[in-house]
Amino acid sequence: MKKITALVLAAALLGITLAACGDTTTTNNDDNDVTRTTQVAPTPAPTGEANHTFMFNNVEITMGALPDPVLAALGPALDEMREPNCAIEGEDVTLRFPGMILNLTYPADGTAPFIVSVSLIDDSVGTPEGLYIGAPAADIARLYGQYDREVNGFYYFNQGRSTLEIAVRDGVVVQIIYQYLFLD
Amino acid sequence: MDKLLELLNELYPDVDFATYDARTDGPLIQSLEMVELITEIEQRFDIEFPPSVMGDPEHFYSAAAIWALIERLEDE
């Protein structure tokens, strides 16, 4: 009887190993660079945490959030542009506030509108962590630590389904943009 | 054979097994009574039924058929 049980156990082990080597799907994030009008950083796997939030005279602007409450809190914009692109997609709205440009999208299929991006224009406004246009490049590492990705002097810090893009030229921060990555 | 008839009458008093034939008179032994019948036969005739017999009714449609099955199993 012992011979049989030994045989059975061996065969079972063989079976289990075979089962374990089932095809594991490899995740390939193709690193396609997308131009400005959409989003730049490649689509990181959405981490559990919340998206980036920018504070503009104590109004919380979270990437991907509903625009209406934020717009109500911010009050009237200095400039506004509603851009219905030449096709059937919804409407992109860009608003200018002192030192900041806010970009929103109202999708055509009637799904909820969301905040697409916040770009800082000048040093009159800074990020919650204290970075501003014109700050020395060293501040980035000091305030934000290790970046997730770097392309030609553009540093990306991913958080949730959003990314913070900081551009450096000649050792000085020249562009700071928060983006919601709605396309992945 | 009469021991078998005696057993069948015990279980089904109001059926005359001498002439009864399930193929003509309609099915009688339900699957549950089948269990009872088989265990009784096994005890009284000291034989062992392979369970596969239970599934197919062609062994149990009449007393004669049951007896033939018992004889076959006895001399195995």
């Binding site: 059975v8 089962a19 095809d23 055509a108 299929d109 | 392979p50 596969s52 599934g55």
Partner: protein, 499 residues
Amino acid sequence: MTFISPWFLGGLCVLFVLYYTLPKRAQWPLLLLASLGFYALAGWAALAAMLVTVAASYGIAMHMSKLKIAQKAHVAQHRDSMTRDERKAYNAAQKRRQRGWLIAGLLFNFSLLAAVKIGEALARIDIIPSMIFFVGISYYMFRICGYLIDVFWGKIEVQRNPLKLALFTIFFPYAMIGPISRYHNVADALLNEKRIDWALFGRGLQRMIWGFFKVMVVGFRLLLSINHLRATPGEYSGMFAFFTMLVWGAYLYADFSGAIDISIGIAMCFGIRVEENFISPFRARDIFDYWRRWHITMGTWFRDYVFYPLSVAKFMQKWPTRVKIHIATAVTWFTTGIWHGVAWNFIVWGLSNGVVIMISQELKPLYERFNKRFSFTKTKVYTCFAIVRTFLLLTLIRAFDIYFDVPLTFRHFASFITNPQFGAFFRYFGEHEVWFGLAPLEWLVAALGIAVMIAVPWFRKEEKRRPPAIFWAALVLVIFIFGMYGLGFDMQDFFYMQF
């Protein structure tokens, strides 16, 4: 469901042509090749596990039959020199050895199945809504274990060619979905050489179209609503929960019996008759009748290979018959539940079926006296009452499959009484544009589909009253239009342009 893909259907047409044009002896190898290819789609692990199982079972079956032949030869040779008792003792010893091998085979197969299932569960965290996939890989286990036990019982001749055994185990139409065929029922048809029988081929196509209609027009449409109702189970209690159970019953029947129709239809096109798995189950008068109409081949499998052997087994003989039957029923339904999945809701589902059956068995004599005394039980009204009673009973039992959460299901049962929300339920339809995830028009199509599905068990009818070919052409068109498939699933976001 891999049946619903142009590649599958295209491949099938090619296979039909090859099957009936190639030389006859190439027929069953062709089916085996197709089945192996189809099975590989379920993943290499599943295919490997299955092949190992078939090989092991083949070896064990051959060994058992060798022992049996040696036993018969020995008995025949020493017929006169051995007394009846000696012969009985010898037979018993031989039987024990063969049983040892049988148990080894079964143990090996089930441990392999468990490995594949556990591996599968780990790899895929979210639960697949359609129950069919959940049990897919283990259908072949029924067939191969049934074969092993039949060989042990000497009910069938052992299959000497392992490839033929493999074909029986994973013949692609019933590999994933069933029905769970028995070796002696399908082996000959599977393996013999056939000329094309146009009538059967035609009826096979019709059966497939009927299956696709049930799955794609009714099943998938109801699944949308089920997913909606299941997304927030807490919210939909009382009448809403009951409505969910009704929709679930209709969905499961459409999806499951439709898939079975497709697999039976394909087999018919190859000239192979496979057992029926559903015979208008909503007309069942009692729970026994129900389980002779719903998923028949599973019910009979558990009856023949678990219930009967258990009820006549030696160690059971010390109890009275009534107790034996109850124990056997409980064990049978427990294993049925476990086989569906190692999860509480399936076990509770299995056991509740067992309990109801035990109670009915207990009350059987009472019923019989009641039926004899009151003649009205023969009337049409009473049978309708019995049908409705059985339908409701099974709808409740089936509810355990919906939420995968036993306490929640019981809370819903309680809410039927505590707060049925009748008013809220009927008001819901007035207040909402979309009812439980489906537009009213979609519900209309679903309702018509269900009516046609249940009212027309046409293929039960005799030959002459069959619908003409044009009916089937129209039905295919209906599938193309109202079937739920392709990108069109979420159409509403397609064309909006603001001026």
